[in-house]
Every structure is written in C-alpha cells, then in structure tokens.
C-alpha cells in the first residue's frame, strides 16, 4: 500500500481489527515487528523516522492534553518546542472555535472541546502527513466540517492523509480511496 501526495485514504475495519495500531505505526510511534514501511522517505524501522516526526500530524482517539494546563498553555508548549510563533497558537484556537475557551484548563473542557484543541494543534504545526483516528467522533456538525476542511487543505497543498473511521459515508466523501482491515491484514 502506498500513499501518494494528494491522497487521502480511508481505513475501515471492525473493532479491534488493528486500525489504531496501523496509524500509530505510520506515526512512527510503534516500530514494525516485521515487514517494511517507509514514510515521507524515512524507513520506519530505522532512526530516520525521528526526523520526519515534526511533519506528521497525528490525532489519536484519546486527547493528549495536560489536564491541569489551559488549552492555550498546552498549545504554547508545543509551539515553543517546535519553534512556532505564539500568535499562531491563538489563531489556531480561534480557527477551531475555541478562542473563548483558550484560558480554560483542559480538564474542565468538554470532550468535544478537547478534540477541537487537538485539531488546533495539528492546524498549528502544518503537517505534510495527516493521521487521524476516528476524526469525527465527539465533534458537532461545525467541527466536523472544519476537520474535513483541514484534510482537504493538506491534500490540496500536496500532503497526504490517512483517516481511520467507522463513519464510512463521511470519510468516503473525503478519501481518494479506501482500504479495509481485518485481523491485522490490509485487504
């Protein structure tokens, strides 16, 4: 399976099929036990995978925010570490409709707000390769459109995206093609 620039791939499969595992593997967060995979030109089994990390935009199904820090602080931390301008933090939060909640601690934000903040993070880092795990869950109608927009932006500017989802109709709209996973094998 090869993902080309400009591609958006939908990945489907039953619960426990291995979709999340595949995504974390592509995100360089897991190392392949066997087999070979290359991402943005870097072999996933070698240390080269570290170099491509800043170009990957990954959103898992569990938010990775620090609960006791505000949304703004959470994103600012990432921005400082990656050398992103702090104005971008605010504009990204505003872009996902969280301008008013920027100074709220993540733990008091609703599930959907936390997920929005995760998308703000991805927006901020302008990745070339987008990896989204169940991107539409917990988001309301507006936010869902926002995510679709984000994906289109990335692939239009020559990036690629892999979307894991159970919401077939929505993702198939977005994806250039789709694959099915069963029992760890890509069909």
């Amino acid at each position: 399976m090869t993902v080309h620039p400009g591609d958006a791939i939908g990945v489907f499969g039953t619960n426990g099929a291995g979709k999340t595992t595949l995504l974390r593997l592509l995100a360089t967060l897991l190392k392949p036990a066997t087999g070979k995979a290359t991402i943005l030109g870097a072999d996933l089994a070698t240390d080269a995978r570290y170099d491509v990390r800043p170009r990957i935009g990954y959103v898992g199904h569990v938010p990775g925010l620090y609960p006791e820090m505000t949304l703004n602080e959470n994103l600012s931390f990432i921005a400082t570490a990656m050398g992103i301008d702090h104005e971008v933090v605010e504009s990204s939060l505003a872009a996902v409709g969280l301008a008013g909640a920027a100074d709220r601690r993540a733990e008091v934000c609703s599930h959907g707000m936390q997920r929005r903040a995760e998308f703000a993070r991805v927006l901020m880092t302008k990745p070339d390769f987008l990896l989204l795990d169940e991107p539409h869950s917990a988001l309301d109608g507006n936010a869902v459109d926002l995510v679709d927009d984000l994906v289109r932006q990335i692939i239009d500017s020559g990036g690629a995206a892999v979307l894991v989802s159970h919401d077939r109709s929505r993702v198939e709209n977005l994806a250039t093609y789709s694959v099915e996973i069963t029992g760890g094998t890509i069909a």
């Binding site: 039953t14 291995g18 190392k31 036990a33 069963t182 029992g183 760890g184």
Partner: protein
Amino acid sequence: MATLVQKKSPVWPWIVMAIAGLVTFVAAMTVPPDAVQGQLSRIMYVHVPSAWLAYLSFGVTMIASGIYLWKRDLEWDRRAHASAEIGVFFTGLAIALGMIWGKSTWGTWWTWDARLTLTAIMFFVYLGYLALRRTTDDMDARAKRAAVMGILAIVQIPLVHFSVIWWQTLHQPPSIIKPEGPDMDTVMVLTLLTAVASFTVMYIAMMVKRVELARLEDAVLIAEQTNTGPAAGEAVVAPDLSGGA
C-alpha cells in the same frame, strides 16, 4: 533466524565445569588450616573466588551492554544477559557462604556491616536487571533498556570493594589487591589463586552454555512473534443481536 539454533550443542562445558569444581574442592581441602580460624577458613577458597567472579561477570555484562548499544547486535545482549545471570548466581553463593562463615566466626548469620549490606544491594540490583528484561517481549526494546541498566549498575562494584576501607567494619579488608601487596601466607595465596583460576574457567564454560540457551529462548520468542496465530482482531465477533443476555 536459523543461525540462532546450532545443530549440535557442545558437551565440553559440562565437563569443564565439573573439573573446575573438583580442582577448587581439592585445593581447598589440601591447604593447611588457618592458625586462627581452623578448618572453617577453607570456606574462604570458595567465598572469595565467588565474590570476585561476581565482579567479573558484572564487568562483562557492562562491556557487552556497551558493545550492544554501539553495534545493536543482539548477540551481545545475550552475552550481557548470560553474564548477569551467572553473576547473580556467584553473588548468591558468596553471600550464602559468607553467612555460614559469619555464623561461626562472628556468631551471627548477618550483621549490619557496610560490605554485607552493599553486597546484598548488589544482589538485588542485578535481580532487578533480570526483572527488567522480563517486562517486555520486544527484543530490541528489552536489549536497550537492559543495556543502559547493565552499564549503570556497575557502580556497585567499587562500592562493595572499597566499602571496607570507607568504614571500619567487621568484614575483612582487602588483603590481596591493595597498594602494599598481599600479606597472606604464600601457600594460601597460591591456593586462592588456583581457586580463582578454576572458577574463571568455570565461568567461561557457564557462559557458553547460557548464551546458547539465550539463543534458543530468542528463537522461541521470534517464532511466537512471527507466527501470530489467530489475528488479534478475531477475538471480536459480530454481536449477538438475538435478544441479548
């Protein structure tokens, strides 16, 4: 992976181990008893080599760990592992014999003493090294974590060795490896050296066997990991919609 399993397992290490054990025993039994401690001083010819071989084993673990981190060759990881396990065995032996000895000379099995306590800590630290290896089946991750610990844990050795100089305690201070040279009776020194030499040979034989076993263990692990059996996702089936529980 076929290289991991040798066709024929060598028998010589077993023979070498037996001979080395016998030599040590004979040497310890033929040397004249110590003037002060009597027959029990014979324990020394096993106690001291055990302790030293423990040092040697852990030293080899450190070096092999370092080479592993450099070359990323799992064979060195297996050597580090094997050596640590043998080292734990020798440490245990030194402690057990020391306790028996202590019961007769100090009148107690165990006492607060810097060397005793630090030796006990060393024992547990390397047990911890072995435990760390059990926390994951990912061979590379396991090797890397273990290697870092295998290198760090080496500080135990100078600590144990010099502890008797740092604190005035019950345990014998070094009587052979020290600036002024050995101050023991020549016969005793020679016997001790014989014992150390045969223990070293025994160590080498044990290493050969243990590394061989480690290869087999890894081969089994690899077989398990490549033959995934029923895919993980197959544990989940379509729900039973016939009316529930």
